[in-house]
């Protein structure tokens, strides 16, 4: 039996009452902090805003019945990558930078291109919304980790569906470690 397929259960009436409130709160926090990330002059403020965004997105994952991805997001993204960013900002960001221009000279073109992209997304969502079912399938949360493990590592003596990709990802991390170390050493 394919471990990645679940039995869909009817969801509509059993969602807890507070869900829309939490969704709008988390989604609003994510988008507002995303705005702060791209508009602050000070890089440390941007980094802190990005941390808020990452934690809000982790909360959204929890609402989507994906606790393992939420856990990975908190550990790897908010607890690892952002610490790395903050370290580099503190080692690199000299005071002179905060007094210069922060947007480049061709920023209207960039904004226009982004608006065109937004228009594309909006048209895709509006045209395609009839394809999306309006009731959401409720995934069982209590065995999420075990099922992801079955997909990544395999179960009952067979290799999982994503085991090969998992091994390649670990090789990728090894290459990244080597690259980062070599690039930042003063003499190799």
């Amino acid at each position: 039996m394919n471990p990645l397929l679940m039995n869909p259960a009817v969801n509509a009436g059993s969602a807890p009452v507070a869900t829309p409130f939490f969704f709008y709160f988390l989604a609003g926090a994510a988008v507002v902090s995303g705005l702060f990330v791209i508009t602050r002059r000070n890089a440390v403020h941007s980094a802190l805003a990005l941390i808020v965004t990452l934690l809000s997105v982790a909360g959204l994952y929890l609402m989507l019945y994906a606790p393992f991805v939420a856990g990975v997001q908190i550990i790897a993204y908010a607890g690892g990558i952002m610490v790395l960013f903050l370290f580099v900002i503190m080692l690199v960001d000299i005071e002179r930078v905060s007094k210069e221009r922060q947007y480049n000279r061709v920023w209207p073109v960039g904004l226009l291109a982004a608006c065109a992209l937004l228009a594309l997304f909006v048209s895709a969502i509006v045209k395609g919304r009839s394809l999306l079912p309006d009731r959401m399938v409720q995934l069982p949360e209590s065995s999420n980790t075990q099922q992801i493990a079955a997909a990544l590592y395999g179960e009952a003596g067979r290799v999982g569906q994503y085991t090969f990709a998992f091994e390649i990802a670990s090789l990728l991390l090894l290459v990244a470690i080597l690259g980062a170390v070599i690039m930042t050493k003063k003499k190799i």
Partner: protein, 102 residues
Amino acid sequence: MVPIATLHYLVVAAALFVLGVIGVLTRRNVVIILMSIELILNAVNLNLVAFSRMWGNLHGQVFAIFIVVDAAAEAAVGLGILIAFFRNKETINVDEIDLLKW
């Protein structure tokens, strides 16, 4: 209120994606550009996990985990490049990294 459906998550993901693209295209500070790239990757992850819930299987979540791993590797290497360049020329503005300009 309208019950929260996949559509809502897609809208949030699209908004984050566009914010990230604006950040990449308009800022001069390399670190903030890298952070906007992280925003883009997060938007993609949110999309994947939302669709994973819609279809009721775990493919989207596994893909999202791989993307997080990938983003970690890319952030490390990108910041390494930044530090290496910062040693040569004391700047972190993309405009001023123009050594190969003719």
